[in-house]
Subunit: 552 residues, 2 copies
């Protein structure tokens, strides 16, 4: 009988922050842990979402036993609908809140019946999924109901942390289960697959409760409107803001689609407590005076079409900001989003608001373990081998350094990449092969219109083609310097439409100029949507549309 | 006799970080304080430098009495050569080190004789420049020999801080002269024009000496090469690194053009002390073992063609990095540069180096005053009016808030923009008008080739035209998906050259693919240089070249 082997293949999340997805494969069965997405970088023109390359799983679809999800963040569950379109998955295992969020997402994509949703009980008996015996361990993170996954396999025991921090005073009282971790450590861990995001940062991450304490100091003394913007999935942060609002007698409004959606799901499932009468709907905001309101809104990353960005440009239908108001941006910009967030802060400051953010107030804490917390986990588990995941290379390298300092031998620390094939056997752990693990781009038409999102793989450009539109605008006045230029590829039958496309682009840009829209990102967005709409109506096709704006 | 009036017109530095330049005008005479440049944002394709709009000064060139410089940073002196080409300036006043840096810059531009360089003595008697009686006050900052400027005019007394922090333990012992500030406050300040960069940050900025203490802890215990990267102008930081190198017996190498230039100037003028025998030249590096070397290099902002970036991609002729080496990035990314710096850190980590940077070690401190330091200056000066400058709007607004808390009446706080015309008279201060104050772009051919930099104003596109080149490359393998496409504007006689340009672009890209250059920024750089060279050789013209790279 051959020695049992477990193959571990990260399809995303290594060498990057985002699109986490790991394949575990043993005895012919595959278990997928997480299926997340990433958001495009600025230079990835015309792309809405970035997905892992499902190729390896697609080619072995029949062997996929289940998908297990650690928590409900987009970089861990966002690619699920796209995966389900390509691979028939029988079961999806996750905790209650994670399932609630996934259910709503699948519903939007018309995929509710695509897989059986199975609820995990972190305190229940292990689940047998083919050759995998799966246990779940409660972990604290910036979304409730997060778990680590223990995989008992013939080849050894793996602990896959998922995202976590060690918060001894979490808002819901549900701590990282250090007792269980110690217990599992005593049973013996052959491989730790662990979150590396903050491995470079010394010390420990502050407890989520610290942010609530800051709200409690900041909010009662203020007289104007209070806006709090954060990731909508950070339910505990929202809970803490709502609690303070209740204490000081402010009404609460939820602004932004993701904010309303996430909070409704959390409330329905019992993860958020708030009396019905505290909420006011956006159209009712004008019935209240500024000091009677606390507004929770999405857009903490400065996303071009988000609620907070529109508010900052004084362009939101329901919310305005004026002198005396306070905006709390309770988040840290994801690398690459800094300038967008700065623009938002400047816009709000120009309207007269005082803006509190992580650089000038204690209004944010990370959901990821710093170095001392990672050391604690290493001490509790005493793993024989460590594979750092979830992070850019420098973070993985810092995690590896911590493992080595904790006594893990250098040859038992695996610095893998997306697509590395790692094998765990009784003989230890090593990289044995490498598969293609690129990226898949999703180019939808506008946001919000999720049902209509067309899955687009840029490597199959020839199907629908690409339209590049180059427009020149004046820097000072935003005037058009000349009419837009078009480059069309792989879209032969579009040639007779060139004039129509050019005049549509011209129309869109002139409309923007009239409405004093001069932000490059917004101009790109408008061009993208206008041309996409036109081409879809005329041809039923969705070419990739790349608007290039040149300031002259 | 009419009441005397002082007009203050910021031409740059408000609503942004960069290109600081302020016009002071009274009785028909103009004094310009600083003439800085900014670096382009990513979306400003094809631009090397951004300058203030000199229009207002150019039209009144005969009235310009002098240019006064507060310190030698590029965002305060970098536009000077371009200003001197357009406006005959009789005198430039600055301290010794600032003049040394400016002299080298003017020499490179062939402008050494364009103006008289006049050395400021911060402890000397005031200088009479037409109706302006000018005094200088020593300030601490992240470059030595920084001064604030006091302007005594018939309309009132203005204190223009320039960049500063209050460092009570600076490396050279030359502190911000709080005694003089108090003295000037007692004489009465009608208007404070003050640095706002860190006004949002609570508390005080750490002393520069703290970084030296970190070097002293980190460097002696390490066995491999040590690289320290920072702004070359941060002479005191370099001094502290060199001091520790001397203590532990490491030799010092200077890598990168700006690093060598700045340190040589500082050493020649007596601002940096180091024994000649401590330095080794780059070609000699191989004669030493890793633990015998400390390498000071430029590139702390992840600039595409800088020394540190090339080292991180294992592409530097003289320096390599391997396991056991330590790289100290002693700087903070300027907003917008975060991803570049992250790429550099990842590259260095992949080579095996431990990378210390401001997020994981105390290896950087800011040169700008935090809120409590600004409060100290407000208390020392007790100004009748305040005009926050140097910063994005949110920073100006935070400074305004500090001024109000310090007792300055709200109507005596001016939140101006670039181009605002502010008037100071016995009656107080107010915005009376607004002039055009846009930006001027400089598009040079490559860096380093400064003598050849062609001053290009995009508003005069018709002169040399613009060439937009769109190339598609594969994400996974960097292969060319199809041959590049060209869009040419305002460059009529280039039509017969289209084929040649296309094949040149093709050649450049294929060469990049062969050498495994896949970084978008580097591809753009190579395309820009290759086409620019070709067009200049053939036509003697320098069109603006915008390379657009699309990943498919």
């Amino acid at each position: 009988m051959p020695e049992p082997v477990l193959r571990i293949i990260p399809l995303g999340g290594l060498g990057e922050v985002g699109k986490n997805m790991t394949v575990y494969e043993t005895g012919g069965d595959i278990l997928v842990v997480d299926a997340g997405l990433a958001f495009p970088r600025d230079e990835q023109l015309g792309v809405d979402l970035v997905l892992p390359d499902f190729g390896y799983v697609r080619e072995r679809a029949a062997r996929v036993r289940a998908v297990v999800l650690t928590h409900g963040h987009e970089d861990h569950v966002g690619a699920l609908p796209y995966l389900l379109r390509e691979v028939a998955v029988r079961e999806i295992w996750a905790t209650k809140l994670t399932l609630g969020l996934v259910q709503s997402k699948l519903d939007e994509h018309g995929l509710l019946r695509a897989a059986e949703l199975c609820e995990v009980d972190p305190h229940g008996t292990p689940v047998e999924l083919g050759p995998f015996r799966v246990e779940f361990v409660r972990m604290a993170h910036s979304i409730p109901d997060t778990v680590a996954v223990v995989l008992d396999t013939p080849a050894g025991r793996v602990l896959h942390t998922g995202d976590y921090k060690i918060d001894h005073t979490p808002v819901d009282g549900i701590k990282t289960d250090v007792g269980r971790l110690a217990d599992i450590g005593n049973r013996g861990v052959d491989l730790l697959v662990g979150d590396s995001t903050n491995a470079e940062r010394p010390g420990v991450t502050l407890s989520e409760r610290v942010v609530g304490e800051a709200f409690r100091q900041l909010i009662p003394v203020r007289r104007g409107r209070i806006l709090v913007s954060s990731f909508a999935s950070n339910i505990h942060r929202m809970q803490q803001a709502i609690d303070v609002a209740a204490e000081v007698g402010r009404k609460v409004a939820l602004i932004g689609r993701s904010m309303r959606k996430n909070l409704n799901i959390a409330r329905n499932l019992g993860y958020l407590e708030a009396p019905e009468e505290i909420f006011v709907r956006p159209p009712e905001l004008d019935d209240y005076r500024p000091h009677e309101l606390l507004i929770l809104c999405s857009g903490s990353q400065g996303e071009p079409v988000s609620a907070l960005t529109r508010i900052a440009y004084n362009d939101h239908p329901a919310v305005r900001v004026e002198r005396g108001d306070t905006v709390i941006i309770s988040a840290k910009p994801i690398p690459g989003n800094e300038l967008r967030v700065h623009h938002t802060i400047n816009g709000l400051a120009k309207l007269g608001a005082e803006v509190l953010h992580e650089e000038n107030a204690l209004v944010h804490t990370s959901g990821h373990a710093n170095a001392e917390e990672i050391r604690t986990v290493l001490s509790l588990l005493r793993p024989r081998a460590v594979m750092p995941v979830h992070g850019e290379f420098r973070m993985l390298a810092a995690h590896a350094r911590l493992a080595q300092e904790a006594g893990v031998p250098a040859d038992a620390i695996v610095l893998a990449e997306n697509g590395s094939v790692v094998e765990l056997s009784r003989g230890g752990v090593r990289v044995v092969d490498r598969i293609e693990a690129g990226v898949t781009f999703v180019d939808g038409l506008g946001v919000g219109d999720v049902r209509d999102v067309a899955l687009r793989d840029r490597r199959r450009l020839s199907e629908d083609g690409v339209v590049i539109i180059v427009a020149t605008v004046g820097t000072t006045n935003g005037d058009l310097a000349s009419s837009p230029e078009l480059i069309v590829r792989g879209f032969g039958d579009a040639a007779p439409m060139l004039d129509e496309m050019r005049s549509e682009a011209d129309r869109v840009l002139r409309e923007c100029v009239e409405q004093r829209v001069t932000e490059i990102k917004l101009l790109q967005e408008h061009l993208h949507d206008g041309l996409g709409q036109l081409l879809y109506e005329r041809t039923g096709r969705r070419p990739m549309i790349l608007p290039v704006i040149v300031e002259v």
